[in-house]
Amino acid sequence: MNREELLPGTLHLLILKTLARNQQMHGYEIARSIQQFSQDVLQVEEGSLYPALQRMLIKGWVKAEWGVTAENRRARYYRLTAAGRKQLEVEKAQFDRVIQAIARVIQTA
């Protein structure tokens, strides 16, 4: 499987968007979800995912709660906060600007 590297700075955006789509998810579900939606192109490194989640917890974009999975295992579930929702808009706008800028550079021959 050939997987693409994540664009720098987009991990937060991906996590926020993923959480916005679902009520609450644990870490593995977030990683799986990103992978599936990107049709296996984007692979989130676990080594990046958990530190990123910790940072987002500190910033108050997400909150975490211990719960139980369908297979009856303890898991930490993350959900989006109001601040996280706002941040998602900010990051999305920023991402769009960057992508359009890149597109302009590439298209201008």
Binding site: H26, E45, E46, G47, Y50, P51, R55, I58
Partner: protein, 894 residues
């Protein structure tokens, strides 16, 4: 926080385990071999440990974990060498504790603001040092009640003026419902006193202007919080209680707030009563309307915006105006001239005023200096110990650096360890200080139980202490920390134990030991000078024989006696009964014995036109046997006898100085003089001359004094002296019992021997001598520890070299000499530096010394000798150890 960190790590680990397991399941479901799947899952996850650290860093907990590790490590290190740690902790605890204790006493006596509203706006007329009742004119220290009222009415600069009686009345009164008289300390104040200070009542109300309008009208009292606590056990019905003092029943109308002790530092009254009631309070002063009854301390609050200079100008103007117009003031030529020359001096009363402060501010400053030096010596010790430890650990630190520990991390660790040491020492110091300041205030007050100081270790002091200990740790922890981490790794690892950077360490340590020796010498010299002063003072001839005399206070005024013949009868009956007791030689009443107060007024000698304004004569009224009881030798004429009665011609016995100054021509026997006014100049016939005595202090110059028989001068005599032989305790109870057989209601107080009373007068000299000796010895001990530590270190370092010496035939004696001479060199240098400093210090203390020169050679050589001997012992121990080295082992030591 560490717990939280652990929880965090555990949770993250669980979260990641779940992730790995789920991934593994997915791979297996996709058809991957089970072990392959686990491997893949693990590989993708990366370094779990690293991940955890990164997660933890994100939370910023890293430094806390490191700090806790360092603390842990530091405590373990301290416990590994308990001897060193104990010495370091003790040095710090004593150094910091002594500083805090002395500082809290200084704070209480000198620095603390009065616990009233805006203390900075308060001023005092005069110095507040005088107390008593004066009829001298004019008097810028003590004021009459009519003067106070005029000043209050006419001034432009004060928002209010208040007055307090300059003496506390020590009376015995009854609390409603109790049958025994209890001692009460009463402060008479003007009605404006509490409103001007802005003191609000804890319960009920304080005194007001209404209570001080008319003489004898309102029998009301405000009690102190402390008195309410210890005498009434905080009885909530306090405001319904009555106090019976003399024949008058007072209503308690309020309780003062707990922090308010009065305005005079060191004197905390139990009860405040309006000045209008002064005649009702024993001994029944009657000066409420008397312009020449100068007995009050005058205080005021500046109007907002008024400067001290303006207030001074206005007060001086009014002082002149009021005294020129006050009814009852004798405005003769001489008094007018004196008034013209007299100025009032206003002083800030922000910190209250105090005789105690006057007596102790100098000794306390000296003690602050002394304990400061002790702290320096203690710090030098800590520095040396830290240096030695870090040097011994050079190899350990090098290994850790080689294993990848960051330099800043190592420095932080060493600093944390010093900090742990300092804080532990600081905590011990605070505990020690709490105990020591209690002890100290007891020493300062020395049995004057009625007077109390508000000494407490407060928040500011705690911060001060903490600051000192932390600064010590950082200062003396930094040097070794930097040094230990800057050396070349390879060298340290090669060099072996305790060898790295040795010369530099040796230089710094030597400098520290030398300064310790110098400082110790200074402290010892100071201690020696104070001890000799005290010894000289106690050897002073008081003029009376202080041995074998019991003295006690008898408060006849509180028992309802008036100053009439019944009172004289009472005294004579008691004297007779006591004289008949087995073991009693003779007894007598008097107003004063020693260090209690004085009674003086102007003296007029027959044949001289003017009074002797320049001569102060201290009067005393005494019983016939006073001179025998006190052992005061008669030099000429006779003393009082049964022939001197209320109706016989008035007679007096005078001291030799009075005889010499007032009766310079011929024998004074048979000559006449009088007190108070020219018309009295032939009242008293001199019948005898006795040896001079000391009145107030042991170091005072000879004073003029006279004695009058109480039979002819009936007044309250508070003191009773008994010359006795035998057991003191049994005698005291026999005397008290006999007095109560005469009159059961007579309150007895202040029972002690005359010797104790004299000793009490040198409290501050004794305080200086005892404390400076204690700190001097402490300084020697700390310095010896320093010398011992340094010499041990030198011996350890030179083990190899000493082994070679011995292998080449040097005997043990030579080795001992070699080591000891090293120690002696440092002591010699220390002494050379210390001697001039000690001499300079001694000169600064000169006016606190008595009968000893600041450069006293005996003191200097004793101090130097003591220091040399103790240092020798401290150096000898490691030297002996060096001499017992086995050469073969020493050579192999690496």
């Amino acid at each position: 926080m560490l717990v939280r960190g652990e929880v965090f790590a555990r949770e993250l680990e669980e979260e990641m385990r779940l992730h790995k397991d789920l991934k593994e399941q997915e791979l297996v479901a996709d058809g991957v071999d089970a072990s392959e799947a686990r491997y893949a899952a693990n590989r993708q996850f990366g370094n779990a440990m690293n991940l955890r650290e990164r997660g933890s860093q994100a939370w910023g907990w890293e430094w806390i974990e490191h700090f806790m590790q360092d603390v842990n490590y530091g405590v373990r290190g301290m416990l590994r060498s308990p001897g060193t740690t104990l010495v370091a902790l003790l040095s710090l605890a004593l150094g910091i504790g002594a500083n805090t204790a002395i500082f809290s006493l200084t704070d209480a006596v000198m620095l603390k603001s009065l616990p009233v509203k805006d203390p900075a706006g308060l001023v005092l007329f005069g110095s507040g040092l005088d107390q008593g009742i004066s009829d001298g004119f004019p008097n810028p220290e003590l004021y009459s009640y009519p003067f106070y009222r005029e000043m209050q009415k006419r001034n432009q600069v004060f928002s209010d003026v208040a007055a307090s009686f300059s003496m506390i009345d020590h009376v015995h009164g009854f609390i409603e419902g109790r049958s025994d008289a209890e001692a009460m300390n009463i402060q008479l104040v003007s009605g404006t006193y509490f409103p001007m200070l802005g003191v609000q009542a804890e319960a009920g109300r304080m005194l007001s202007e209404e209570d001080d309008r008319k003489k004898g009208e309102r029998a009301v009292a405000v009690v102190s919080y402390a008195w309410w606590t210890h005498s009434l056990a905080r009885d909530p019905s306090v405001l319904n209680k009555k106090l019976t003092i003399g024949p008058t029943v007072f209503s308690i109308v309020g309780v003062a707030p707990p922090e308010f002790f009065g305005t005079k530092v060191g004197e905390a009254p139990d009860i405040w009563i309006p000045l209008a009631m002064q005649k009702e309070i024993p001994p029944g002063w009657d000066g409420y309307q008397d312009s020449m009854f100068e007995s009050l301390h005058l205080m005021a609050r500046l109007k907002p915006g008024v400067t001290m200079t303006e207030a001074n100008a206005d007060s001086n103007l009014l002082f002149q105006e009021i005294l020129h117009g006050l009814p009852g003031v004798p405005l003769n030529q001489e008094n007018l001239q004196e008034l013209d020359k007299t100025r009032v001096e206003l002083n800030s009363m922000a910190t209250g005023f105090s005789r105690l402060r006057y007596e102790f501010s100098e000794p306390l400053k000296i003690l602050m200096g002394v304990v400061g030096l002790v702290l320096l010596i203690a710090c030098a010790n800590i520095a040396n110990l830290l240096l030695a430890r870090s040097t011994a650990r050079a190899r350990e630190l090098a290994v850790r650096q080689a294993l990848g520990a960051g330099r800043s991390r190592l420095i932080r660790q060493l600093l944390t360890e010093s900090l742990v040491l300092a804080l532990a020492g600081g905590a011990l110091g605070v505990a020690f200080a709490a105990w020591a300041s209690h002890l100290l205030s007891r020493m300062v007050l020395d049995g004057r139980d009625a007077l109390q100081l508000n000494v407490g270790v407060d928040m500011r002091l705690l911060l001060f202490t903490l600051g000192v200990s932390v600064a010590t740790a950082l200062l003396f922890g930094t040097i070794p920390a930097f040094r230990a981490t800057t050396q070349t790794l390879a060298n340290s690892l090669k060099e072996g134990r305790g060898q790295s950077n040795a010369p530099a360490k040796g230089r710094l340590a030597t400098a520290l030991v030398v300064s310790q020796v110098a400082l110790s010498l200074v402290l010892l010299v100071v201690a020696g000078l104070f001890v000799r002063s005290l010894v000289n003072l106690t050897k002073v001839d008081t003029g009376f024989n202080r041995e074998n005399v019991i003295r006690l206070g008898i408060d006849a005024s509180s028992a309802g006696y008036k100053e009439d013949t019944r009172l004289a009868d009472l005294y004579r009956r008691i004297e007779e009964r006591i004289n008949a007791l087995p073991g009693v030689q003779v007894s007598s009443f008097s107003i004063f014995v020693f260090n209690e107060g004085t009674w003086n007024n102007s003296i007029w000698v027959q044949g001289y036109l003017s009074g002797h304004r320049d001569v102060t004569v201290f009067h005393n009224a005494v019983g016939s046997d006073y001179f025998a009881a006190m052992g005061i030798p008669l030099l000429a004429g006779r003393t009082f006898g049964p022939q001197d009665t209320a109706t016989s011609p008035k007679v007096g016995v005078i001291g030799e100085t009075m005889a010499r100054t007032l009766f310079p021509r011929g024998s004074p026997i048979g000559q006449r003089y009088g007190h108070g006014a020219p018309e009295h100049s032939s009242d008293i016939e001199v019948i005898g001359v006795v040896k001079d005595v000391k009145y107030w202090s042991l170091d005072e110059n000879p004073k003029a004094g006279d004695y009058l028989p109480y039979a002819q001068n009936v007044r309250y005599l508070k003191d009773f002296e008994v010359r006795y032989v035998g057991d003191t305790g049994a005698m005291i109870s026999a005397i008290q019992q006999t007095i109560h057989e005469v009159d059961r209601t007579l309150p007895i107080s202040d029972v002690m021997t005359l010797d104790e009373q004299v000793a009490r007068s040198v409290t501050n000299q004794r305080l200086l001598a005892q404390l400076s000796t204690f700190f001097g010895l402490l300084a020697i001990f700390l310095s010896c520890v320093g010398i011992y530590g340094l010499m041990s270190y030198v011996v350890t370092r030179r083990t190899n070299e000493i082994g070679i010496h011995m292998a080449l035939g040097a005997d043990r004696g030579k080795v001992v000499r070699m080591v000891v001479s090293g120690a002696m060199l440092q002591i010699a240098v220390g002494l050379l530096i210390g001697i001039p400093v000690a001499l300079a210090g001694g000169r600064a203390l000169a006016h606190q010394l008595f009968g000893v020169k600041s450069y006293d050679p005996a003191v200097l050589s004793a101090a130097a000798g003591l220091l040399v001997i103790s240092a020798l012992v401290a150096g000898l121990v490691p030297a002996m150890r060096a001499a017992s080295i086995d050469p073969m082992k020493a050579l192999r030591t690496e």
